[in-house]
Amino acid sequence: MPKLLPIIEFLEHGVKKPIWDCKMCGQCVLHSTGMTCPMTCPKTLRNGPCGGVREDGHCEVKPEMPCIWVKAYERKDSLPLPQSWRNHYNDLRPPVDNQLKGTSSWLNLITKRDQQTPAGWSAENATHESQ
C-alpha cells in the first residue's frame, strides 16, 4: 500500500484537477455540492456563500468568476445526481483538516479518515435544541 500511495494521489489529482480544479484538500465533498469544488472559492467556504456575492451571481473577490456557491446551488438540481447527494447540500461540513492536504480523498474515504473530526466538534453539546 505505501508504495501505491503516490500513484493513487497522482491519479486522483490527474482526474480531478482538470475537471473540478481540485485543490487536493483530501476530504472531498463534491458529491454534496453539485460537483462544484468549495476549495475554489477564494475564501474556501465549505458551508455556503459569503454575503458578498454580486447581483449577477459572480464572486466578490474575482468578478469574472461565477460564485461557486451560486453554481453549486443550480447544479445540485440540474445535474443528474442521486437524490441522496442533493439531500446533503445544506449539511454542516466540519472545518478542513489541514493535515490531509495533498493526500488522496479516495483513500481517506475508504479508510474513513476524512470523517474524523476534533472531539469538540463531534461532542454533542447544547447546540441542537430546536428554535
Partner: protein, 305 residues
Amino acid sequence: MSDFPSHLAERFSTSERVFTVEFPSIDGGNLAAVKSRVDDLLPWFDAANATDSPAAHAHASNVAIAIALQNFGLEPILQVVCRDKNRIAIQSDIMGAALHGVRNIELLTGDDVTAGDEPEARRVFDVDSAQAIKIAATLRGGRYLSGRKFSDAPDLFIGAVENAAAPPLEYRAERVTKKVNAGAKFFQLQICFHGDRLENFAQTVNASHPTLPLLPTIVLVKGAKPLKFMHEKVAGIDIPTEVIARVEQASDPKEAAYQLARAQAEHALSLPGVRGLHFTDFCHDDSLVRLMRDLGVTPRPTGSH
C-alpha cells in the same frame, strides 16, 4: 454556566423591540474616544457591534472595543470574522472577551482582503462562519474544539449574519437553518435595498424558526453619493437605479435619503420574525436620534444597565 447573562438575550425574550448599532471604528487616541461615543448611544440602544476590522481595514481590535463597551455599560456584540485568524485564535479571542463579561458573540465570514487598504494581505479563512458558530457553541458547552474541557463555561449568546438580498436568493433562508443548527440564536441581516427580497426571506425564515429574532440593518446616509458608492463598491449591496435616482433628483437629497431609511425601517419592522433593527450611521449628525424618535422610541435614562 457563569453568571453574566446576556442582556440582549433577555431583551429578545420580552415583547419589546430591540435596537442595536454599529459602533464606529476607532483608529487611535484613548478610551475617552470610546466613552464619548458610548454616551451618545447608550440612551437609545440595547447593544452595539464591536466590529472586527470591517471592510478589511485595520482599526482598534474587536476584543478591545468589546471590553471597553462592556466596562462603559453599553452591551457589546463581539463580531468575529473568519478572514484574519485561524480556529485557535478565534477561540482565544472569544474566551478572552468572555473573561471580561462579553456574552454576545456574532460570527461572520468577513469582507475579503481586497475590499480593504491592504489587499496584499494573506487571507486566513481557516474556518467559515457556520463552523465558527459551532465552535462558539462548543465553547458555550465548556469545551474547546479539540475536546479539551474547562469549567465555568460562559453563557454565550451566539449570533449570525445573513444577506437576504444576494444570490443565490432561494438558498439564503435555507442556510439560516444550517446556522441555527450550528448554534446561532439571533441574526443581524446585511444592508438590503430590495424590500421584496427582505420580505420573502423573513417570511420563509419565520415559517421554519418562529422564535428566531431577526434584526435587519438600516443604513443612514447623507445623499445619493454614498448610495452610489455602496452600490458600486461594496460587495453584496445592490441598490436599484430608481432608488438612487429618487434621492438624487429630490429637491432636498439629504432629506430624501433620510426618508428612504425611515421607510425601510418601518417596512422591516412590519415583517414576521423582525424583532428590531440594527443601524449603521454614516451621517454622524442628529439623523440617527431623529430616526429613533420617528420610530417611536423614547430614550432611556442612562446608567440603567
